[in-house]
């Protein structure tokens, strides 16, 4: 579903990702862990086309995301092309990023009506179903500012799902939440993971969640994947000393 091939990302002289190759199969749940600055979030941002690669290519569902083919040659993707490919991809952010000028309903129907071409009725029905799923149906006509952080994040998850994405990117979605609100959001994500076949890439510091939610965990350090294994293996018997010391440090808390 997702193929990174020799991807390099620099910010100025700072190499954030180098020579990165990996593949994620359809329906797989992959968690990216590692110290901050190790490039995990950058991978999600590249997939969402919020950043551009400096070298290498990214493919999603068999189509180039970072590039497009023009007269048999690969050229950097233009805005129109990337918009087409990224329709299949949804993202949930650490800071929710709901549109404060719209109600919950407005946030949920914006993409489906403006991008997918659904009618208002269809989009509304979809929004209501999703709000049932995230348990916020009765808040549909309120503005995001009236909701708690956990509720806002659940709406943000519903907003991403309303686009029926093939790939869902979760960027530290519980990091900005009060501790008592984290569990509700994680439970929702587990439910979604079980009830759908969406491919999910997730950056998180919640190791317990990473362990039971993912099929695979990738440990990043210094812009490279240093270990890539099923969670049972990686969390109990990692091959690398760096992974061990990282896990030790985070689980210590």
């Amino acid at each position: 579903m997702i193929v990174f091939d020799g991807v390099e990302k620099r910010f100025g002289d700072n190499v954030v990702l180098s020579e990165l190759d990996f593949t994620v199969r359809a329906g797989e749940h992959v968690t990216l862990i590692g110290p901050s600055g190790s490039g995990k979030t950058t991978i999600l941002r590249l997939l969402m086309t919020l950043e551009k690669v400096n070298k290498g290519t990214i493919k999603v569902a068999g189509r180039y995301l970072s590039h497009m083919e023009r007269r048999g040659k690969l050229v950097p993707a233009d805005e129109k092309y990337s918009r087409e490919v990224r329709k299949r991809i949804g993202m949930v952010f650490q800071q929710f990023n709901l549109f404060p000028n719209m109600t919950v309903r407005g946030n949920l129907i914006e993409g489906p009506t403006r991008v997918l071409g659904l009618s208002k009725d269809e989009a509304n029905a979809r929004a209501e179903d999703l709000l049932d799923l995230v348990g916020l149906r009765e808040r549909i006509d309120e503005h995001p500012s009236r909701l708690s952080g956990g509720q806002q994040q659940r709406v943000a998850i519903a907003r991403a799902l309303a686009m029926r994405p093939d790939v869902l990117l979760l960027d530290e979605v519980t990091s900005a939440l009060d501790p008592e609100l984290v569990a509700g959001v994680l439970k929702l994500l587990r439910d979604i993971g079980e009830s759908t076949d969406i491919t999910i890439l997730c950056v998180t510091h919640e190791m317990g969640f990473a362990r039971d939610f993912s099929h695979r965990v990738m440990m990043f350090d210094g812009g490279r994947v240093i270990e890539d294994a099923p969670p049972d293996k990686l969390f109990t018997d990692p091959d690398h000393e760096r992974t061990r010391s990282f896990l030790h440090a985070v689980l210590e808390r």
């Binding site: 969402m48 086309t49 919020l50 805005e79 918009r83 990224r86 329709k87 991809i89 949804g90 993202m91 952010f93 800071q95 990023n97 709901l98 549109f99 404060p100 000028n101 719209m102 914006e110 993409g111 403006r114 991008v115 907003r159 991403a160 686009m163």
Partner: protein, 217 residues
């Protein structure tokens, strides 16, 4: 010098008619400045090819020259190129263009104040460019800058008398004409000043209330 109530009351209707012209010029000038300033700001933010450097050059040049010179330019120089405008139209154009350069900066501040996450969320939903602006960014940016725009309207209102130089019959022009007839400047000029005060003071109070409501940028 003695204040003549009879004379003051006699000239009041003429002054009020002049005031209407002043208000009309302010209204039309503001509409032009609001629209054009917004266009300037969006062009600059989007780095629209060709237009962006043109807008930037225009704003720099126009902001560094006096309104009076610009009004003269529009009223006396454009006819040489086949564009003849009535004094009021030329005046509105001068005010609108002049203030568009300032309102574009105000909009820019408002747009910059919209968090980056909002743009990113709009990208993540694949919203088309037009919808990002009209549905997400401007509805957040514009309310925040309304007080600043309001202040420019008040400031524009007080600059309309400059247009007497190109023959717009606004309130100060009327006061001057009356003075020339009666050789008595006190009543017309005092009344004209009072009329300005009567409008700009409440207007500035209203802007201040608006500021408290929307918060400052």
């Amino acid at each position: 010098m003695i204040w003549d109530w009879g004379y003051a009351i006699e000239i009041l209707p003429a002054l009020l008619r002049g005031l209407l012209v002043t208000l009309l010029a302010t209204l039309l000038g503001s509409l032009l400045a609001f629209t054009l300033g917004l266009v300037f700001a969006v062009v600059r933010r989007n780095r629209v090819p060709v237009l962006d450097p043109l807008v930037r050059a225009f704003v720099e040049f126009w902001r560094s020259t006096p309104l009076l010179v610009q009004a003269f330019l529009i009223f006396y120089v454009l006819p040489g190129y086949g564009i003849t405008l009535s004094p009021l139209t030329a005046g509105v154009l001068a005010l609108g263009l002049h203030y568009a350069c300032y309102t574009s900066e105000v909009y820019r501040a408002g747009i910059d104040a919209v968090p980056r996450g909002q743009w990113e969320a709009a990208t993540a939903l694949s919203l088309p460019r037009s919808r990002v602006w009209l549905g997400v960014v401007l509805p957040q940016a514009v309310p925040r800058v309304l007080p600043a725009l309001g202040n420019y309207v008040i400031s524009m209102f007080k600059e309309v008398p400059l247009l007497l130089a190109i023959g717009v019959v606004e309130v100060v022009t009327v006061a001057q004409q009356l003075t020339a007839q009666s050789f008595s400047p006190v009543e017309p000029l005092t009344l004209a000043g009072l009329l300005f005060l009567l409008i700009s003071y409440p207007a500035s109070l209203a802007v201040r209330r608006l500021e408290r409501r929307v918060g400052v940028v």
